[in-house]
Amino acid sequence: MTQTAVRAARAHTGSLRLDPRAKLAMLAVANVLMFLHTGPAAQSLAVVLFSLPLLFGGKAAAGARMLAVYGVLCAVGWASALGVDRLPWLHIAGATAAGVCMMMPCLTAGMAMFATTRPGDMVCAMRRMRAPDALVIPVVVVMRFFPTIRHDYRLIRQSLRLRGFTGGGMALARRPLRSLEYILVPLLMNAANVARDLTVAGLARGLGAPGEPTSMVELRMHAVDWLAVALSLAPLAVAAVTG
């Protein structure tokens, strides 16, 4: 391996790097939990468990944020249950908090999936699971587009500002349709251009060539990955016991 790669690998040692397939298993469990409308015990266990890859995978801030959001939501739900007799409209806050709470395991697992997985590993994992190219290529493209969209959005907001359309969230809230049009149209136009160029670049690099594509990264499920899969099943067990 080259020096830079070695340095990068060293920077990663000491932090937890799960196999993407283990994280996919977590995401799957999170989705099942949402369908089952599980109780608070299973739900909170799931949120804590699924934030572990973030907390120990170099994205501690993101993990802490997810836990904090969950904590606030729980508090809102609890507080509104206490005060609902006097203030009936608190039902709305309580119901919203409960609804978002139900999605938190999914959001946390999804965040862990995308924030701590390098695109190359993701592609390799999908290929190892024999996912078809029709699935692999869109995932690559989405991961490629994410940073670009943030960059594009910033440029568009800057040019709007120079045209005299100032104000951030307020303007957006006051005239949502117009703001959406002014931001979305250039964003989509640019995405279409990029997609056109990317297609050509991909073809020129042999994308879609006959024969099985390989992967530079070789992934193996280690003991820790199997442990993670086993642990991620725990909320399901709790849900089964508590009903």
């Binding site: 391996m1 830079t4 690559v140 991961m143 568009i156 040019s159 020129a204 530079m216």
Partner: protein
């Protein structure tokens, strides 16, 4: 060296589906270790030749082909497009839209993975290609964080990772500064030394004259002539200019740039913009959005910019030109120092109000549903009486006529050509009565005639009393049209 041609285009005529012939009766060949440069104005057919060689036409860009285009044993129109990747490496104009992966090392591995190489060999190849081109420092990085020059070097390395016999580059230097072009030159020299047949379609010629074996001059879809490097250099300069070509040697332009860099402000009157002790850059944002010290900062020498002047801002990729421009436009606050507008220290909002920016990607700044509506956008937004609107409409039509956009006034801005979009952005600036206009690389990828057109447009803009600032890598634009240069190196 091998005497047989690796690329052969014989009597080729090609028309894209639904269009007239883009190429007529073109014949050329390239042998191993040869570099052939395709030159000519925009739309002359040189890009189409590169596509015949790398199989994208008619494989991806469909059309009718007569004649034979043969590359390393693959015949265009017969061989499947996928089989070209092992034989031809391709590099395109825009470094931002030709990488497929988010990480640089993945990008280098991408062609190998598609070719089905086993993992250890891919890692070996990636290591080799990085060493061969001296780009170890670019490995394992987020590509979006690399500069345009670095991205383009990565694109060349990725195109060369399968060790193809032929390399095709379509305007590879359009977005590059001088230093990046020099590095690209080194990569091309290495490829040539290894016996790769190289075809480059280019407007900017000066960066690799020493490597070129033959020049093929195109015009209107036809091959006007093929010249050896020596013959081509011996041609009178006026002849090359008439073909719409850029200069072979930019040393004269550079000398002129150096001369005007030392020029003091000649104009009388008060400056529109002045900077005093300015330091631009950005800070890393902490979790609670508190500053954590500057990640990037650059001191800017004190400058005064006058109305009616064209001021070039030059410097290498990453020298802080764009950051400086954004700061002038009030899009970000300076780290230190002040910017004065008409002699008064100005806040960001005042600067935004007085500034117009013509971005390199103009389509980020066009929002309306027609050209006329685009120019009228702010006026309509402000509202006002019937009389006011009518006056604004008359002014808008006059501006459109002046900028040669009147015939397309009812079209959607996105349907315009690149040059028209650029002029529309300038029309918007003029309509808004802006005090100064900043243009970011307005001539990248343009042939000589279009570059001169943009220059004339800048002059017309300045003659209205607007201060014009132009960020550019284009030595020819700077030498011909700028009154002063701010060098940020």
């Amino acid at each position: 060296m091998d005497g047989t041609a690796l690329c052969e285009v014989r009597d080729c005529t090609f028309a894209y589906s639904g269009e007239g012939a883009a190429l007529r009766n073109v014949t050329l060949h390239v042998r191993a270790g040869e570099l052939v440069m395709l030159v000519g104005p925009s739309g002359c057919g040189k890009t189409t030749v590169t596509r015949l060689i790398n199989g994208l036409a008619p494989g991806h860009f469909t059309g009718t082909l007569t004649g034979h285009a043969c590359t390393g044993g693959l015949e265009a129109g017969r061989a499947p497009l996928e089989s070209y990747a092992r034989v031809v490496g391709s590099v395109f104009q825009n470094p931002k839209t030709q990488y497929f992966h988010a990480r640089s090392t993945d990008e280098l591995a991408f062609p190998c993975e598609n070719a089905g190489m086993p993992a250890p060999r891919i890692r070996e190849r990636v290591r080799q290609v990085a060493a061969r081109f001296g780009i170890d420092d670019l490995l394992d990085r987020a590509i979006v964080d690399l500069s345009g020059g670095q991205q383009q070097r990565l694109a060349v390395a990725s195109a060369a990772v399968l060790e193809p016999a032929v390399m095709v580059l379509d305007e590879p230097t359009s977005n590059l500064d001088t230093a990046s072009m020099a590095r690209l030159h080194g990569m091309i020299a290495a490829l040539k030394a290894d016996g790769v047949a190289i075809v480059i379609a280019e407007h900017r010629l000066a960066w690799c004259t020493d490597l070129v074996d033959r020049y093929c001059v195109f015009g209107g879809g036809e091959l006007l002539g093929t010249y050896t490097a020596r013959e081509f250099e011996a041609l009178p300069a006026a002849r090359r200019e008439a073909w719409g070509l850029r200069v072979l040697d930019v040393s004269e332009d550079r000398a002129r740039i150096a001369a005007i860099s030392h020029l003091e402000c000649p104009a009388g009157g008060a400056p529109v913009l002045s900077t005093r002790g300015l330091e631009v850059g950005y800070r890393k944002r902490g979790m609670l959005r508190r500053g954590r010290g500057a990640v990037f900062s650059r001191r800017i020498p004190d400058v005064d910019v006058y109305g009616g002047q064209i001021v070039g801002i030059m410097g290498h990729n990453g020298a802080g030109k764009s950051t400086f421009a954004r700061t002038l436009c009030g899009l970000q606050a300076p780290l230190a120092g002040t910017i004065e507008l008409d002699g008064e220290p100005a806040h960001t909002s005042a600067l935004s109000h007085a500034a117009a920016l013509v971005m390199q990607d103009v389509h980020y700044q066009l929002f309306a549903e027609s050209v006329r509506a685009e120019v009228m956008l702010e006026t309509v937004q402000r509202g006002g009486g019937e009389h006011e609107l009518a006056a604004a409409r008359a002014q808008c039509d006059a501006l459109l006529a002046e900028l040669d956009l009147f015939d397309v006034a009812d079209r959607h801005p996105m349907s315009l050509s690149g040059g028209q979009k650029q002029r529309l952005a300038i029309a918007v600036a003029l309509m808004g009565c802006k005090r100064f206009v900043v243009l970011d690389e307005p001539t990248s990828g343009l042939d000589r005639a279009h570059m001169m057109q943009v220059g004339a447009l800048l002059r017309a803009l300045a003659d209205r009393g607007v201060a014009v600032l132009v960020i550019t890598h284009d030595d020819e634009l700077a030498a011909h049209w700028c009154d002063r240069i701010i060098a940020l190196d």
